[in-house]
């Protein structure tokens, strides 16, 4: 029996966590992630989940504890945002290199400075190259679905990487919508038991983990993450299809919308796709390609889906001062030589809203490179 509840994205993730019932959750509160751990801690206190919550003193400690727990043999989930993810960054790289299958819910929020609490994707982009899988969801329902898929993806023997479920801060984390929850038994069956090849607590088979690697092995061990990402890409679609079997909702690395026969395609991440879908409904020949899996980046599938398109418009909710937006450079590299014209726009930094009018201007070609920016250069 499925249930429909009015939930925010943060609450939806907390409910997914209750159903997954992880062994360990080391976590430190930070806006806009806080509702996730706040709701989950209440569920644990009420006996609805049996998790050991570790109240650490910082996000650096949260990820360090998460690595220890996950490698010991415990299913481990954590959550963070913005400065928390920045503080965690050093250890996120280590989690990926030690192949710790940790699941992390991220409420995307602008990085300081200036200090801000609202949504953009600069925090996720900070750890772009860390070796973690990053799934960007469109709404609270998909945040729930992605959280159920995440442990399966992370714990696959041929993947063994942290999986981040990234939802737009406030826009998703704090906005309530009807969310359909699976029944507990279905979730338990789908997620299965936690199993990793070399658990530290298997004292009959002692191992050394995270060994020092000199020039003779560092390169090969770093490359392992590349191979794992290659395995993760088809796994996202396979697991998405398996999940869709019980949810009746599609889930995949890419989400194409009205792309059939389109001459123009908008490409974006996250909740903005909702606004873009409404906008392209009013334009003939314009479609959307929402990217759910930013890491691994579905380069070949993206190129195939955009093969018939003359113009590609990339919307970046993060800036890279001195260069172009991170999503733009990815898409441009993927489409190199395809003949499509590619336009990149930055928008929505620090929670600046992108409304329908703004998307129409982008599609009409009247928007500047920096959408909604008050600057003489915004029309450049």
């Amino acid at each position: 029996m499925t249930r429909r509840l009015l939930l925010t994205g943060g609450e939806a993730v907390a409910h997914a966590m209750r159903q997954i019932d992880p062994d360990v959750v080391p976590v430190y509160p930070i806006t806009p992630q806080t509702p996730i751990i706040q709701v989950f801690a209440k569920l644990v206190a009420n006996g609805n989940a049996h998790t050991e919550i570790v109240n650490v003193e910082s996000e650096h400690s949260a990820m360090s504890a998460a690595i220890g727990a996950a490698l010991a043999g415990a299913r481990t989930i954590t959550a963070t945002s913005s400065q928390g993810l920045a503080l965690m960054a050093e250890v996120v790289y280590i989690a990926a290199s030690m192949r710790a299958p940790i699941v992390m819910a991220v409420g995307n929020r602008a990085l300081s400075g200036p200090i801000n609490i609202h949504c953009d994707h600069s925090d996720s982009m900070l750890i772009r190259d860390s070796g973690v899988i990053q799934l960007f969801v469109e709404n609270a329902q998909e945040a729930y679905d992605a959280m159920l898929l995440a442990p399966r993806l992370a714990e696959r023997d041929d993947v063994l990487l942290p999986v981040l479920v990234c939802q737009d801060g406030f826009t998703i984390t704090h906005s309530a919508e009807p969310v359909e929850l699976l029944d507990d038994e279905t979730v338990i069956r789908f997620v299965g038991d936690y199993s990793i090849p070399f658990p530290l607590l298997d004292t009959a088979h002692p191992t050394t983990q995270g060994p020092f690697a000199m020039p003779d092995y560092y390169y090969e061990l770093r490359h392992q993450q590349d191979i794992a990402m290659e395995h993760a890409l088809p796994a996202i679609d396979e697991l998405g299809a398996e999940l869709a079997h019980v949810t009746n909702r599609p889930f995949g690395a890419l989400d194409p919308y009205r792309l059939g026969g389109a001459h123009t395609a908008v490409v974006c991440l996250g909740s903005t796709a909702g606004t873009v879908k409404d906008a392209v409904d009013e334009h003939d020949g314009v479609g959307l390609l929402r990217i759910c899996s930013f890491r691994p980046f579905p380069e070949h599938a993206l190129r195939e889906l955009l093969a018939g398109v003359d113009e590609v418009i990339v919307l970046d909710r993060a800036a890279s001062p001195g260069s172009r937006g991170p999503l733009f450079t990815e898409v441009a590299a993927a489409l190199y030589g395809s003949g499509a014209a590619i336009r990149g726009h930055v928008y929505g930094l620090g929670g600046r809203e992108l409304h329908l009018d703004g998307v129409h201007e982008v599609i009409d070609g009247t928007a500047g490179r920096y959408i909604g920016l008050r600057s003489a250069r915004c029309l450049a």
Binding site: L160, H205, T208, G210, D216, E220, I227, A228
Partner: protein, 92 residues
């Protein structure tokens, strides 16, 4: 680099299983002094075992029997923490 493993042959994260690897003989790092014990003075407190950073303290159960000089780097910690003066650093 001949003799080294391919990326695909390494365990995830470079996990090492000790029994499958050649033992590293770091005893060659000593610079002229090695520890020596006068077992008559030893009270088996095992502080040396606790402090040794290199598994160079050899035990039989909880009884101290001597040093594994293949891995002792000559750091002198054991001789400093020994409460009965049983361990001394001597020339190689």
């Amino acid at each position: 680099m001949p003799g080294l493993k391919q990326s695909e042959e390494l365990r995830p994260g470079g996990v090492v299983i000790r029994t499958e690897e050649d033992r590293l003989r770091t005893g060659g790092w000593r610079t002229g002094l090695k520890p020596e014990v006068e077992l008559a003075k030893c009270v088996d407190c095992l502080l040396c075992w606790l402090y040794c950073p290199d598994s160079a303290i050899v035990l039989e159960g909880t009884h101290f029997t001597g040093f594994d000089l293949d891995v002792c780097k000559g750091c002198e910690l054991c001789s400093v923490v020994c409460p009965t003066g049983a361990i001394e650093m001597v020339a190689e």
